[in-house]
Amino acid sequence: METKDETQTQPAPGQPGLLRLATAWFGGCAGCHMSFLDMDEFLMDVAGKVDLVYSPIIDVKEYPEDVDVCLIEGAICNEDNLELIHKIRARTKVLVSFGDCAVTANVPAIRNQLGLGNAESVLQRAYIEGAQSNPCLPREPGIVPALLPRVMPVHEVVHVNYFLPGCPPPADRIKSFLVQVLEGKEPQLVGKDLKFG
């Protein structure tokens, strides 16, 4: 775990002494967050030690400054993802790729195999061919963010500090990872804790 940068003068809002934790959800199925919630009663322990400052499971709209650790679920698929991941990177000390989609781009990246124009192809499939009524592509600005030409794992876009693969990573693996972080250790995944798929 990184020690806090002494030169940072701006005091972190919220409760002092607690680790400022965030989780973010990009191109993925939310399964990793479900797995996170599967930690059950351990969540109570976590709650006492962290200040959850941003997450799909809490109601904060803007990613705050001075976050200690952020778990990223999902691949970088669209322009919103891209904008937010840069903001997160700039405001976070330790970034963790959380689950296979963040680590390898996984299933969301299968569209990359279609080559150039893959984004258009998947939109066509979902919104035109798959539509039950009113088939049309969502093109209104500000409604649905435009897809990127290529889905990327998080570390292809910004620097990532740690990787926690798995589809999803089971609760006990997330737990062992968090325990190490909360104890201020360098988290290490060895043996059965390292697994893809």
Partner: protein, 563 residues
């Protein structure tokens, strides 16, 4: 065939020499600018002028200054004499000759004038050459064995078979200090001795004519210009190591070389210079051609043998080396074209003569194909140890249009770029290796100030990526990633971390690849990084995420490096 027959052929050939010999280059370079048309026109003009009994129009091999082709040289003997071989090359050298020029060229024999561009046979490009391998190139007619025999051809084979033991031949080659001309520079005599030592009823000799380096055309020229010298070298090698069957593995992209080899093999067989009981000795030797489909990796000896066997041309780990277990599991000697072309001259003139040429550790001469940003594109043969400066500036004439030479690339995709500051380096195996390049097979690509070195590195990486056989992972997938990274750098989208990744991959691919192709694939990158690192770093983006601790903190401005 006995020695008297050989001498008779030579004498008859010499006696048939006419007063004027007009040599017209019929190698692939000049042929591509219609030297065939020129030769036909010359034949016709001679006929029309009624000079058939005085003039021979001879189709010959490469006359070296390829950029000025088609080349035609007119040599005339003094009144009443015939043209001897030793005066060939003294007469005027006509350049960029067209079929329409033929009549005026013939007219010069009777004191007429011609407007055809004339080269200077006294130019350092010609006078600084020292020919062993190319001695017959541009002189003999590669399609007539008699022409080769008249130039002392097959004399060495006779002497070897009738007067020397295999051991004496080995010792001669060993003493000459000849090293492999294919790239790595392994002592030829040692290689022969290893094969000779093995006790096997079946051994093979292979001539590696799978010249594949971009910018290299030495071996092609030797095969097109003087195929018999290679066949003779192979036969001598076979006698020394105890082989009875030879193969020339030549790439399909060299159709002219293939056809001249076919002709040469046929003629040699007809004259009893290949086959059984050569020169009425107990020595039998046959040579067959194997045409490669143009895979660069088939120049690697184990891949080449696999291809000769009719299998997919992929390398296999060594040991066992071909000398112990090669073609169909038998001991096999594999030598490059130029190496074999050196053999007969060494036998004829002696090991001491050869060892007296070149440097202490690199003996003899080396043929180079000069290409790229250089005035005199073509073939040169110089003693080992000649400086690069002499080769590219004095003989090559420097960069064209007053440009400044920036670097010289030697050794093809396995070699490296030597910066202009190091032009005074003598060209020999060890000096080039010290500079992070290799002698290679002899391709020399000259670059001027307009060349971007990262582009050069990427060009060669793309070549290796496409030519990787796909067998081992580091070469197959590593070249792809290195190419990606070089593309990213050229697109100004890479950071210092990408450059580190590239260097790490270079080290890994070099250390872990199965064969020479992969092991040397990173060389163009490594050598350009060594001498032109600033050209890489100038293209790098600021690393926004490194931060003071490398943890990515410390930046508010975020830009995508990818989109």
């Amino acid at each position: 065939m006995v020695i008297d027959d050989l001498v008779a052929i030579a004498e008859k050939e010499r006696a048939a020499q006419k007063k004027h010999v007009i040599r017209c280059c019929m190698a692939a370079g000049c042929m591509s600018s219609d030297s065939k048309g020129v030769k036909e026109a010359l034949d016709k003009a001679v006929k029309e002028a009624g000079l058939e009994d005085q003039v021979e129009v001879r189709g010959v091999g490469c006359m070296k200054l390829c950029c000025q082709g088609p080349l035609v040289q007119v040599d005339s003997a003094a009144e009443g004499a015939t043209v001897e071989v030793n005066i060939l090359g003294q007469g005027p050298l006509y350049q960029k000759v067209t079929p329409e020029d033929a009549a005026s060229l013939i007219a010069t024999l009777k004191g007429g004038k011609t407007n055809v561009q004339m080269g200077d046979p006294k130019d350092p490009f010609f006078t600084e050459q020292f020919s062993i391998v190319l001695a017959n190139s541009g002189i003999v007619n590669p399609e007539r064995i008699e022409s080769y025999i008249a130039a002392d051809g097959y004399q060495a084979l006779h002497d070897v078979l009738r007067e020397m033991t295999p051991k004496e031949v080995l010792d001669t080659i060993l003493k000459s200090g000849l090293r492999g001309r294919g790239g790595a520079g392994y002592p030829t005599g040692l290689k022969w001795a290893t094969v000779a030592k093995t006790a096997s009823p079946q051994k093979y000799v292979i001539c590696n004519a799978d010249e594949g380096d971009p910018g290299a055309f030495m071996d092609r020229s030797v095969l097109e210009s003087d195929p018999h010298s290679v066949l003779e070298g192979m036969a001598i090698a076979a006698y020394a190591v105890g082989a009875t069957q030879g193969f020339v593995y030549v790439r399909a992209e060299y159709p002219l070389a293939i056809s001249r080899l076919q002709t040469a093999i046929k003629q040699a067989k007809q004259h009893g210079l290949l086959g059984s009981g050569i020169f009425e000795s107990p020595f039998n030797f046959n040579i067959d051609l194997r045409i490669g489909a143009g895979a660069f990796v088939c120049g690697e000896e184990t891949a080449l043998m696999s291809s000769v066997e009719g299998k997919r041309g992929t390398p296999r780990p060594r040991p066992p080396f071909p000398a112990e277990s090669g073609l169909w599991g038998s001991p096999t000697l594999i030598n490059n074209v130029e190496t074999l072309a050196n053999v007969a001259p060494i036998i004829r003139k002696g090991a001491e003569w050869f060892a007296g040429i070149g440097t202490e550790k690199s003996k003899g001469t080396k043929v180079f194909a000069l290409a790229g940003k250089i005035t005199n594109t073509g073939l040169i043969e110089v003693p080992m140890g000649t400086t690069l400066r002499k080769i590219v500036e004095t003989m090559g004439g420097g960069a064209p249009d007053g440009g400044k030479i920036k670097a010289v690339q030697t050794g093809g995709p396995s070699g490296g770029c030597i910066p202009a500051e190091a032009l005074d380096t003598p060209v020999d195996y060890d000096s080039l290796t010290k500079l992070g390049s290799i002698m290679g097979s002899g391709g020399m690509i000259v670059m001027d100030e307009t060349t971007r070195m990262v582009d050069v590195a990427r060009f060669f990486m793309e070549f290796c990526m496409d030519e990787s056989c796909g067998k081992c992972i580091p070469c197959r997938a590593g070249t792809v990633q290195m190419h990606n990274l070089l593309t990213k750098i050229l697109g100004r989208k890479a950071t210092i971390r990408d450059l580190k990744k590239l260097e790490e991959l270079c080290d890994m691919v070099k250390s872990t690849s199965l064969c020479g192709l992969g092991q040397t694939a990173p060389n163009p990158v490594l050598s350009t990084l060594r001498f032109f690192r600033n050209e890489y770093t100038e293209l790098l983006q600021e690393d926004l995420y490194a931060g003071p601790n490398g943890n990515g903190n410390g930046t508010k401005e975020a830009l995508s490096p990818m989109i």
